[in-house]
């Protein structure tokens, strides 16, 4: 069990100042290297002495990884751009407000000043059995302590659980999926660009990792195309403490309307599974329909199909149903209908 000692295990600290140097270090150290962005996830692991990397590559000195840039088709946000900068950047606020809303709801102002967009999407699961250092599936063991009759699983998955029932805790991830973002990854073989939803992994695919990054890989930037710029956005996060907490569930939607008709929509939720889920079936079912409470109702019901509650998280099913409903019909409409 983890005991906070506040003294990190010894490791070699590397502070590269360029992407090229960082890549060289990551390839040199392979699986022994720990990549640190803002450090908010990393220091938990290190101070608890659960993760004991031999080398720590601190990316904070790489200016290339910071800032929001306008590109031919949209914007590119460096992976080391702080959440505060994302929240306050004028182009993000005006054109991609969904991301600004999501980033603003991450933790506290202090954490947003230090936390980065790349770190937020790449952070590890917060399941306390896992974070406590117990030998669960995600830690390479052979059991899920949360998925037992007495396991404390109020925050855990209702969808796509496969042995491990931890959830992805990122707030920015569903917003980026809804905005059809692309993640830019530098690998030893060159640059790889993947759709936001393909960046994340469920336990069925890889139970010990939450994303596709492998040793030697580096997330360098996130590109948001202009296709959804200025669309109608909705983001809502439900958490236990409204001042500062991880999401119990969140929802993000980007919608294009023609009058009252939903022309196109992308919608994603997080906190329901080990990876943020794009709700394609919901998108298909509401496309071409009138934006109304009834449509939201249908969407909400469809969104939770197949959900399997654990001992203490059945509340997440109506919660998700209602969040999806609200993300389509809006808060007022949803309130009238319910």
């Amino acid at each position: 069990m983890a005991v906070i000692r506040d003294i990190m295990p010894a490791f070699q600290l590397y502070q590269p100042t360029s992407i090229a140097d960082a890549q060289t270090l990551l390839q040199q150290h392979g699986g022994d290297a720990w990549v640190m962005a803002g450090g908010l996830d990393s220091f938990d692991w290190l101070k608890d002495r659960i993760k004991k990397p031999k080398a720590l590559v601190d990316l904070s000195g790489i200016e290339e990884l910071k800032g929001v840039r306008t590109i031919a088709d949209g914007i590119e946000i460096g992976a080391m751009t702080t959440l505060t900068e994302v929240v306050h950047h004028p182009v993000v606020k005006e054109q991609y407000g969904l991301l600004a809303q999501a980033a603003e709801l991450v933790a506290s102002p202090q954490i947003r000043n230090q936390g980065t967009l790349g770190g937020n999407v790449s952070q590890d699961a917060r399941c306390w059995y896992y974070r406590a250092g117990w030998p669960c599936y995600r830690a390479g063991g052979n059991i899920c302590y949360a998925d037992t009759p007495v396991g404390r699983n109020r925050e855990h998955a209702i969808l796509h659980a496969e042995r491990c029932v931890a959830v992805n805790p990122s707030d920015s991830a569903p917003a980026l999926i809804a905005l059809d973002a692309r993640f830019v990854i530098r690998t030893p073989k060159g640059e790889r660009v993947v759709d936001a939803e393909d960046y994340f992994l469920g336990p069925d695919i890889d139970i010990t990792h939450m994303n596709i990054l492998e040793p030697g890989h580096l997330l360098t930037a996130i590109r948001i195309p202009s296709a959804w710029a200025g669309a109608q956005f909705y983001f809502e996060k439900v958490r236990d403490r409204n001042v500062w907490d991880f999401p119990l569930l969140n929802v993000a939607s980007a919608m294009r309307l023609s009058g009252d008709t939903i022309q196109n929509i992308r919608i994603a939720v997080n906190g329901a599974a080990a990876r943020p889920l794009r709700l394609k079936a919901v998108e298909d079912s509401v496309r071409g329909k009138q934006r109304s409470a009834a449509t939201g109702e249908i969407a909400g019901k469809l969104a939770v199909q197949g959900a399997v509650p654990l001992q203490f998280n059945a509340y997440k099913i109506p919660l998700m149903r209602n969040l999806v409903k609200r993300s389509i019909s809006g808060v007022q409409e949803a309130a009238w209908a319910s």
């Binding site: 069990m1 117990w134 030998p135 830690a139 390479g140 063991g141 052979n142 059991i143 899920c144 302590y145 998925d147 037992t148 009759p149 659980a161 496969e162 042995r163 992994l201 069925d204 695919i205 890889d206 492998e214 399997v308």
Partner: protein, 284 residues
């Protein structure tokens, strides 16, 4: 570097959690090494097989041109088992070497197919086939000793020809029983830890130590099967064994091969006709 990975349970116990995954490579290398060594041995050192004379021309003349060896049911079992075994091995070990896919579902489905096919085989072999034909007997051991003596250059009587299965085949079958039953029995219990259609999850069925040992046994038997499967496939494609491999597909082997390798007194073949006892194709 141990062959078992250990962890500390919430109760502070040091418990095994699974085998060390480098054993996958050990098993793979062992299998490849065996086939290289065996191929060199056969090419450069092995002597021509010699057997004591047995069959009379009269016996030979009574044999059909094609000797029945494996019934359709036995062949279907073999290939279903082989397919499920390969799926099990690939779905078990590819993720451990970095290939990412949804392996658990395929793994337990293939495991279920294997379990059902093995149950069928046990019943089939026990009640419908010559159960003892696959188990080593006294004659096998005596002949093995004679072959060993002759290989060492000592004088010894010639060994008899084989019964339906040579000793090596019988020993291989024994090794498959041990490893196969180990993975199946542990696998059935391990299915209670994942969500399947068969029974509700029950992670509390055993203590952490028992579970750990079960995972270790499952893993050890699994990597053992990597080596065994490599060896099996190698023998199946060796030129001198091709008639046996072909018989697992078509069910029969030629009279010439039968007379060359097998003792008609130890593997009695009776021509098939309506009402003929099962003994004609008594093996699997």
């Amino acid at each position: 570097m141990g062959i078992i990975e250990w962890a500390t349970s919430p109760l502070g116990q040091n418990v095994p959690i699974h085998i060390a995954w480098f054993l996958i490579w050990v098993a793979l290398i062992a299998g490849m090494l065996f086939l290289v060594v065996h191929a060199i041995y056969i090419r450069y050192f092995a002597k021509e097989k010699e057997f004591v004379a047995d069959s009379s021309p009269k016996v030979a003349s009574q044999l059909p041109a094609r000797i029945p060896r494996h019934s359709l049911a036995a062949r279907l079992f073999h290939w279903i088992m082989a397919a499920s075994m390969l799926v099990l091995l690939f779905t078990a070990f590819l993720p451990k070497v970095g290939v990412r896919f949804d392996w658990v579902t395929y793994h337990w489905i293939a495991g279920t197919v294997l379990t059902i096919s093995i149950i069928f085989h046990i019943i089939h072999a026990s009640f419908y086939l010559d159960f003892w034909s696959i188990w080593p007997d006294r004659a096998d051991l005596e002949d093995a000793w004679k072959r060993f003596q002759r290989f060492m250059g000592r004088s010894s009587a010639l060994p008899r020809k084989f019964a339906k299965y040579p000793l090596e085949n019988k020993l291989y079958h024994g090794a498959i029983i041990v490893t196969g039953m180990s993975v199946i029995l542990t696998g059935v219990f391990m299915m209670s830890r994942v969500r399947t259609i068969f029974f509700p999850r029950n992670p509390y069925l055993f203590s952490d130590m028992t579970w750990g040992l079960m995972y270790v046994l499952h893993g050890l038997a699994g990597v053992g099967l990597i080596t065994l499967v490599i060896v099996h496939v190698y023998f199946a494609i060796r030129p001198e064994k091709l008639p046996i491999t072909a018989s697992m597909m078509v069910g029969t082997m030629s009279r010439e091969f039968y007379l060359k390798e097998h003792d008609p007194e130890r593997w009695v073949v009776v021509e098939a006709s309506p009402g003929t006892p099962r003994r004609m194709a008594d093996g699997d």
